[in-house]
């Protein structure tokens, strides 16, 4: 093998992140400035972001040894991921100092997880799929429990770890069965073999187990039970990042496997995915109704959003671009919402997240922060003209196009239910008298992060076309040629 054929450029964003992670780990040994390390990490993710943008604009690149692709699909996922990572680092800069987290481990693991997520989005081989999944998972297990001073963080990490490993085992088993049925571990190979072995139980079972594995990662009901606990127990900045990144990565893999590898079995998987979608959004929304803790409510809300995205997945080929758009919109609004929670969070008493009552009268104390939160809440509720609305519009239109009108209907009804609990947050901020509370944190990075998320949420709503053009037709090149 000639070194020139390795095509390292195909995995440039991931590699950059890995490199940045290493630099951060090393720098931590000698540099005790947590902000500085954070800025270092920020430089790394920004570089990744720029690289992704450049690659999106540039000509296509071949795959990385058929293990990972740099197709538009993967690059858009990278874009989402690096945007999420940029925001996550921005909101963490002040936060980890406040709650006293070790900077090196924190940023290193964050970058590592981000790299794993990007790899997952690009993976075109069962091996890369598994490895990248584990990279991101293991990094996230550790991140979830990084706040060792709090037992709830440990509990979150333990639950995530045990259940994650448990689910990984199923995924892995599914891979083994696919390998057995088709004789290959490359997705392209499997896809080529599928038509000839269609009804082989081994193949079918493999598909089912793969679906289960990714369903766990994206927190689809009934594989979602870990989500609220982990999201609540983990440090908020971690939750922000993983609720977006891990979900996006899981969906990227799910879409690539289901839509690109098993299009001929669409009739087989559309119903389980559809049912998962219905269960997921309904369960998430209903359970969120009963939450008094905003962080936990957002955890359930993230389950519900997984349900909406699953509607797009169930739409098959037609839904791919919708899923990508939704992921981007979701990344902006959800990290934004967590950013506001982070600003409100105080080191000790809010370890398990900010209670709804703490939001009282935020509009009077910090109008811009409250305004940003309002944007995120309305966007999450799917109100036009914000990003969340067009995300839903896109996935539901795909569902309609694929004849899944029922899913669209259930989806919009769910949006209405969700509006109630999002509005409750707005109501506490805007309509209730301010509580006598300490000032929320002020930090330029956090403000910038929140601002970017808010502006992005609005812009993506008013003029979604630029992103829509980007995600359009990604399927055609799902294997990167």
């Amino acid at each position: 093998m000639n070194i020139a054929d390795v095509q390292i450029v195909s995995i440039l964003p991931q590699t950059l992140l890995l490199a940045a992670a290493l630099v951060v780990f090393l720098a931590d040994l000698v540099w005790k400035d947590r902000k500085g390390i954070g800025l270092l990490a920020l430089a790394g993710v920004l570089a990744t972001f720029v690289a992704t943008v450049v690659m999106l604009a540039g000509p296509g690149v071949p795959t990385f040894q058929h293990m990972a692709a740099a197709d538009r699909f993967a690059l858009v996922i990278s874009l989402v991921m690096s945007a999420a990572a940029v925001l996550a680092v921005l909101v963490s800069l002040d936060y980890i100092v406040r709650v006293d987290l070790p900077a090196g481990e924190y940023y290193g693991l964050l970058l590592l997880a981000a790299s794993g997520m990007m790899f997952l989005g690009a993976a075109t081989h069962l091996m890369t799929l598994f490895l990248s999944l584990e990279i991101l998972s293991i990094a996230l297990y550790a991140l979830a429990g990084i706040r060792t001073t709090d037992i709830r963080a440990g509990e979150a990490a333990l639950k995530y770890f045990l259940l994650g490993a448990f689910a990984s085992a199923f995924l892995l088993y599914g891979m083994a069965l696919l390998y057995g049925a088709t004789g290959t571990t490359s997705l392209a190979g499997i896809a080529a073999a599928v038509p000839s072995v269609q009804t082989d139980p081994m193949l079918i079972a493999g598909l089912a187990l793969l679906l289960i594995g990714f369903a766990f990662k994206v927190a689809a009901v009934p594989f979602h039970m870990w989500t609220p606990d982990v999201y609540q127990g983990a440090p908020s900045s971690v939750t922000a990042f993983m609720s977006v990144g891990a979900k996006a990565a899981g969906f990227a893999a799910l879409v690539r496997v289901l839509v690109a590898v098993f299009p001929t079995l669409y009739a087989w998987w559309v119903w389980p995915v559809g049912v998962l979608a219905v269960l997921t959004m309904t369960w998430g929304n209903l359970a969120a109704l009963a939450q008094g803790n905003v962080k936990r409510m957002l955890a359930y809300s993230s389950i519900a959003h997984a349900g909406y995205i699953l509607v797009g997945v169930a739409a098959g080929e037609a839904g791919v671009s919708g899923v990508l758009f939704y992921l981007m919109a979701y990344a902006l609004m959800n990290i934004g919402a967590f950013a506001v929670l982070i600003a409100l969070e105080r080191a000790e008493e809010d370890a398990a997240g900010v209670e709804l009552e703490r939001m009282r009268g935020l509009f009077h104390r910090r109008p811009w922060l409250a305004a940003a939160m309002t944007v995120f809440m309305f966007s999450l509720a799917g109100m036009p003209p914000l990003a969340g609305f067009f995300g839903k519009l896109y996935v539901f239109s795909a569902a309609v196009r694929s004849g899944l009108l029922v899913l669209a209907i259930i989806g919009v009804i769910n949006s209405v239910i969700s509006a109630y609990y999002y509005l409750r947050v707005v109501a506490r901020m805007a309509l209730a008298a301010p509580a006598e509370e300490a000032e929320p944190a002020r930090c330029p990075a956090l403000t910038i992060g929140t601002g970017i998320a808010a502006v992005g949420t609005v812009l993506l709503g008013i003029y979604p076309t630029w992103l829509l053009n980007l995600v359009q037709g990604t399927l055609a090149v799902l294997f990167g040629g």
Binding site: L126, M127, F130, L131, E134, I138, Y141, A142, G145, T148, I151, R152, G154, E155, A156, A157, L158, K159, F161, L162, A165, F166, S168, A169, L172, Y173, M175, A176, L177, Y179, G180, G183, T184, T185, P228, D229, Q232, G233, A290, Q291, R296, A352
Partner: protein, 100 residues
Amino acid sequence: MDAIRYLLILSAVLFSIGAAGVLIRRNALVIFMCIEIMLNAVNLTFIALSRQLQSLDGQIFVFMVMAVAAAEVAIGLGIIVSIFRHKPTTDVDDVSLLKG
């Protein structure tokens, strides 16, 4: 020819035992070991299939799985230790502050 079938069944049984163990046992360490059983059952499947298919992919996969499993052990033990520092127990049912 049947050998492969036996091997597959064996690994499926092993996998099920592991899964059942996860559900039944309360000790975090034991649960984790059950998961290891599941992973190894998959490894067995890979190896059997690799032999059947005369392809190396499966065996490479097994190496990867073993490496990953090792990493998981490291992180898992770390988490368990970190909890143990707050609460001297390894019973997973004892750590259920987060719920609802």
